[in-house]
Structure formats: structure tokens, C-alpha cells
């Protein structure tokens, strides 16, 4: 399982395997052992056996399962709710249902998906703070009993359409250190959360807990503690006011393994456990964690093709490399170059040079990496296939329906 990635032909940079751990300094210095190594062999065999037209995504369900189990072991105090939006492939959901996972959903369609995959409604958290009241009512009819909110208006909808349900309030966080921040749009401040949880009780709902999200692909281990401290204070203040909260939902944020090395999940778990113990003492609440990216990201590989290599003028040195996948067909997270995937050019060796990477559509927004200059072999040719690693999360589901006539990214689960 932990076979090093060095067996691959041309990965852009060698992976480090140092495992020491010392606060946020390790952000850059410690490599998470890549869990997808054996998966890559299986994925390579799958691709080699078929002549599938590029681009496509292959997800190794064994890697997903392994990531799930690793997280359970590392963070035994927490119940895992898979963030379905990260990759809603029915095969992934079914596999996680079988493993005993619970599910964080954003919409009625995701509830259907999870129920159809065999999960009981008690394993669902309707975690979107922005819900139509009709959708709340439908979820409640289907047996869902756990709902997020961050405003009075949403709480009133819940009181009317999900009477007696368990509700948790989302706190605003700063998201410092996250490659894909989730601040601003979600959550309210602590004062408001306090009052809304009191109101929840008055409205006949069960004020159940607090949630927060430190931002997706979070690389600073101490970011959880900042909000856990605030959360513990809220617990105490509310207890004084007669409301005993039971649950802390620490959201997602656990990273996948892109270009930069990240700490292993165990380091995150240990930082989180330490912070919970520090601030809650013996009264450790029921913990919920909502991994998406960290369960499926490293389990997926995209195979793509080089469509064109060109220059804009005779003077310019940089090559433009155009792929048959772009921002609109799976690589939306290259927005502002936030997520930097590892790109493997198979079978091409020798010296490398700067490239600007772009997608195939007639839209200039569809440039993948321009400020951050990737280095690819000078021997790269049109028609070459390349692999985009750790691409299992936020790719296929982010695809457009067919912008420019390019089909959405197909997913093969193996």
C-alpha cells in the first residue's frame, strides 16, 4: 500500500518521505505517504488493458476504502460523514455505505443518491446552510434528522419543516492556510450562533452542536484549534444558559496529495485530538468529520492527451501545451491556480522547459497554469498521453454539461 511513487517514469518532483512532525512548519517539509501507490498500479493496468478515449478519470475504490479506514484509525473519536460533493460516483457511495460511513449532503439529489446506495437516513447530515424549505420538508419525510444552519431565517424553515430535528450552527472561520478557502459565504459569528442555538430550543428543535470548516486542502495543522477554542467557549456559555450541546462537526479540510508535500492524516488527527482534549477536557463531545478530498482525491487519476504544442512568436521561449481536458471539462479547481496537480508525462525523459498549460475550449479563461510555470520534457509530443494525479475529488462533478461541445469527464471506478 505504501509503495513509493518513485516507480513512476517522470513525476515532476521526487517525493520526500521525512515523517517528523512539528507544528505548521511541517507544512512544507513533511510528505504524506502517498496512499495511492498500489492503486496506481491497478489504475495503470486498467488503462493499459483498454483503449479508452481521453480524457477520463479512473478511481480506485480500494484506495478510497483504505483512506476511510486510515482516518477511522487516526481519529477514533470522530464519526466520518463523507462529503458527497467531492465525488458523487454511485460506486464510491456504495463502497462507503458498505464500510459504515455516514454522509454529508448538499441537496435533495445527493440525499436520493445516498439512500439509493443503501444508507439509512440516520446516516445523513444535510450540511448545506442554504436550503429551500421544500427540500428540508422532503428530507425530513425521508427520515433525515440532522441539519445545518447559520441564520435565523434558516432556523425558522427548519422549525416549520423539520420539527424536533437535531440542528447544528455553522461558525464563520478565517480559512487561513487553505488552498481552497471556504470562508465568508458560510457561517455566522459566535454571538449570533449563541443566540440562534437558544432560539432553536425555543422553536422546538434540538440544539445539537457547532460546525465549522477550516477551508478545503488545509495545510496548517493549527487551524482547527483556533476554532475549537471558540467552540468550547460557546459550549460553556450555552450550558450556563441551559442548553447542553453534544456535537462538534470539524468539517473537512484534510488535504489530498497534490504537488506540494502535505503531512500524513495521522498528524492532522493528532493535532485535532490534542486541541479537543485541551479545550474540552474530559467532556469530549460527539465529533463529526466531513472528509471529501482526503478520501477520494488521491484515489483518482485522469488520463489526458496533448492536443497541441505551440509558441505565439519566434522570440517567445515558453511552450503552450494544450490538453484535451480543461477548466470546463474537469479541472475547475485550477481556478486562480489554486490546486496544482501532479502531472506525469509517461515515457518522455530528458531536459525539461517552461510550459503554459491550457484546455481545449475556445475560451481564454480555460488556461490551467500560467503564473506557476510547470516544467515538462522538451521531448513532449502532440498525441502524447499524460496523467493528472490525485484527481479524484472535485473534477468529474465540476465538469460542464458540454461547453464547446466537449463531453463531461467520464469516471471509471475500479
Amino acid at each position: 500500500m505504501e509503495k513509493p511513487l518513485g516507480t513512476l517514469s517522470t513525476l515532476e518532483e521526487p517525493l520526500r518521505t521525512d515523517n517528523t512532525l512539528d507544528s505548521q512548519a511541517l507544512r512544507k517539509s513533511v510528505a504524506r505517504k502517498p496512499r495511492q501507490a498500489s492503486g496506481l498500479d491497478r489504475i495503470s493496468r486498467f488503462i493499459a488493458k483498454r483503449r479508452l478515449q481521453t480524457p477520463f478519470l479512473v478511481v480506485d475504490l480500494e484506495v478510497v476504502a483504505d483512506n476511510y479506514r486510515t482516518l477511522l484509525r487516526a481519529l477514533p473519536m470522530a464519526q466520518v460523514y463523507y462529503a458527497v460533493k467531492a465525488n458523487p460516483s454511485p460506486d464510491i457511495i456504495r463502497r462507503l455505505v458498505g464500510l459504515g460511513s455516514s454522509f454529508d449532503v448538499a441537496s435533495p439529489s445527493e440525499i436520493e443518491l445516498v439512500l439509493n446506495a443503501g444508507a439509512e437516513p440516520e446516516r445523513i447530515s444535510f450540511g448545506n446552510t442554504i436550503k429551500k424549505e421544500a427540500d428540508i420538508a422532503r428530507a425530513f419525510e425521508q427520515g433525515v434528522r440532522l441539519f445545518a444552519f447559520d441564520s435565523e431565517a434558516e432556523l425558522l424553515k427548519l422549525a416549520r419543516s423539520a420539527p424536533g430535528a437535531q440542528v447544528f450552527c455553522r461558525l464563520l472561520t478565517s480559512c487561513e492556510g487553505a488552498d481552497w478557502p471556504l470562508s465568508r459565504k458560510f457561517g455566522c459569528n459566535a454571538d449570533m450562533a449563541h443566540n440562534l442555538l437558544l432560539l432553536a430550543r425555543e422553536l422546538g428543535l434540538q440544539p445539537y452542536g457547532i460546525s465549522f470548516h477550516v477551508g478545503s486542502q488545509q495545510t496548517m495543522l493549527d487551524q482547527w484549534e483556533v476554532t475549537l477554542e471558540k467552540t468550547a467557549k460557546l459550549f460553556k456559555a450555552l450550558k450556563k444558559a441551559g442548553v447542553t450541546l453534544e456535537m462538534v462537526n470539524i468539517g473537512g479540510g484534510l488535504p489530498a496529495h497534490y504537488r506540494d508535500a502535505v503531512a500524513p492524516v495521522e498528524s492532522y488527527a493528532s493535532a485535532i485530538t490534542g486541541a479537543v482534549t485541551k479545550h474540552f477536557g474530559k467532556n469530549v463531545p460527539h465529533m463529526i468529520v466531513e472528509p471529501g478530498r482526503s478520501l477520494v482525491g488521491d484515489a483518482g487519476v485522469i488520463e489526458a492527451e496533448v492536443v497541441l504544442i505551440s509558441k505565439k512568436s519566434y522570440e517567445e521561449d515558453v511552450r503552450w501545451v494544450y490538453l484535451d481536458i480543461g477548466k470546463f471539462s474537469g479541472l475547475a479547481e485550477t481556478h486562480d491556480e489554486a490546486i496544482k496537480y501532479r502531472i506525469e508525462t509517461r515515457g518522455r525523459k530528458g531536459p525539461t522547459g517552461n510550459v503554459i498549460l491550457a484546455g481545449p475550449s475556445c475560451d481564454s479563461v480555460d488556461i490551467l497554469y500560467e503564473k506557476f510555470q510547470y516544467q515538462l520534457p522538451l521531448s513532449l509530443k502532440i498525441g502524447d498521453r499524460l496523467r493528472i494525479h490525485a484527481a479524484g475529488a472535485y473534477t468529474a462533478s465540476y465538469s460542464s454539461v458540454g461547453f464547446n461541445g466537449f463531453a463531461p469527464l467520464p469516471t471509471y471506478c475500479i
Copy 2:
């Protein structure tokens, strides 16, 4: 047809109807008479008759047809190639086929779409400069004879797989003044274009012309002239070298009518015609224009619903207004707040206040307008329906396949 928009209940700002025209200063001062006015009545009746679930897009084909005819009248020297990517609804394509339009396509699927709608392959221009060679071969087999390129590698593909075809070279442009620039990714500089067009002849292709694109939603009328001057010089230089070009493809860029007033299409046409006459004299080449946004943008209205109105703290003044449509389900062009739609809150009057507008997904990128503060009525309520105007272009086709479980934006053509 030219009925003023003032009949609508609450448009965000009154439309100006001054029609004087004086260089680029008119960018801000002159309103294009909104062509969608009668269409809006038809669209309103269509929506009123049905209880369709929001969000959805309604496109009035009569407005598309009217925009097409207006452009033909204004720019009689040009052949119109509709940029299919702007809205590939089969009903729109069929209507334009019936009107005699030609088509600019980006991919094999778009070629299929146009052929299935009844167009002859001679009416197709394969305008993407990034094509797989297999796709070129297939297009050639289907009868397509007009292809774009901007690099030697692409030209070699064309020589091999579309022997004898008409080819045109795309020039790099600056895109100054465009709300959605298309520079950098496409085109090569003039020196390279010159040499590649000579090479095209050597390779047995027909070096047919030059194309450029001033950027989408271009609001500076003189932007076409800058590149037309360069193009005329290239025509002369190539003629000296024994290659007589015949065609200039001036791309798209003609605007739709969003929040800011834009000049009428006649003003653009007159600026373009003047520039062509100035730089080409009596030897006016065959002209191609590729409108997308300007044909279908104003023909479409999105109906959406307010899902939540909230604040993040008691101190904050600004309201967050969450809609059931966002960046991933149709409003991708709010990226960097580039396109600012006109938003109509129906039936709500009285004083207005600042809002931050956001979509329904669990992704904080899904904020529509935050820097530019929209003003909406203080009386706005959860469950209210609102209309997003001039939304016929780059909306439905930009939708994700179902990010967060939210379905792609459905389109109704009437």
C-alpha cells in the same frame, strides 16, 4: 420590437436611450435599444402560464432571429457564422439554419449538432485553433472545408488530414476594453502568421485569410480597427510574396445588453465598415463575423428563486442573498464579476440596500457579486422569484453536470 424596458416592475437602473455616436466615449453614454423588449412580454407570458421549477432559462427565438437580421442589415459586407458555443440549443441552431446563417464550431459534437439541424457542411467553419488530428479528419470527411490555425503544428495536421482545405490564421490581439478577454491563449504574432500562410500554400492548403477576436463583450468600438490595420498590412505583404488572401474573419465581441449601456449594433457595424474601407480601400475582402453573445444574450431570461437572506453578524449591514442558481449551475460568467447581469426583483418596491449575491452550493467560490454591490429592495423575501436578464449566452452550456447535486440549467426555447 423597440418597446422600452421601463414597463418592467423593478429594473435596477433606468435605461438611457440617447443614440448619438462619437468614438469610444459612447461606451458609457449611449444605450443600445434593447431588442428583447417584445421578447420579454412573450417570455413573461410563457413563465406565467407554467409553474416550472426554478432555475430555468427561457430563450425567445424571435429575438434571436431579429438580432440576426439586424446584424445582416447593419453589416451587409459580412457573412454571419453563429458561434455555437454561446448557446448550442438545437432549437436556436435550427432557427439560424432556416435564416441562412453559417456556423463557427469548436468541436466534433458541435459539427454534428449543426449538420443535424440541417446545415450543409459548407456553412461550417472549424474555428478552434486546438484540434485533435482525428477530429480534423472526421470534419473533412463530413465536408467541412474551412479551418482555423495559429501554429505550425496545427497547420501540419491540417495539411495531412484536410488536404486542400481553406485555412485562416488567427492573430494575437490585445483585447483591451473587453469584459471577457480572449487574448493570450489564441493567435500568433504577425511575423509568424505571415510565414505560416506561406507555408500553408507549400503544404497544398489554400491560404484563405486572417482571423482575430477583439474579446467577448467588447465595448470599445475602435478595437476592431487596430487589428484590421495590421491585417491589411499582412494582406499586402503576402501579396508581394505571391499569396493572395481573400477573407478577413473579424470574430465576435459584439456585446449583449447587461447592466452597463452599450452602443447599438449599428454603431459597431459602422465603425467596422469604416475601418475596413480605410485600410483595404476598394479591395474589400470577403468578411466573416462570428457573433454569439450578441445574437442570443439578450434573447434569454433566467428565472430564479431567493433561497435565503441572512447576515453574518448583528453588526454587519450588508445582506447575503442566496439564489437557487450560482456559478456552477449557469452563472459561470460571474467569474471575477466579469459579466454583470441585470437583475429584476418582481413585485418588490420601495427602498433598496446593499447585497452580496451568492449561489446555493457548498462552495465559497460560488459567490456571484461581492465587490460590485448590487442594490436590491429591502422588502425582498425568501421564496421570491427574480429574473436575470440578457442571460441567453454562456449560461446553460456552462452549467456543471450537477455539482453539489444541483441539476444543469434547463433551457426552454419559445
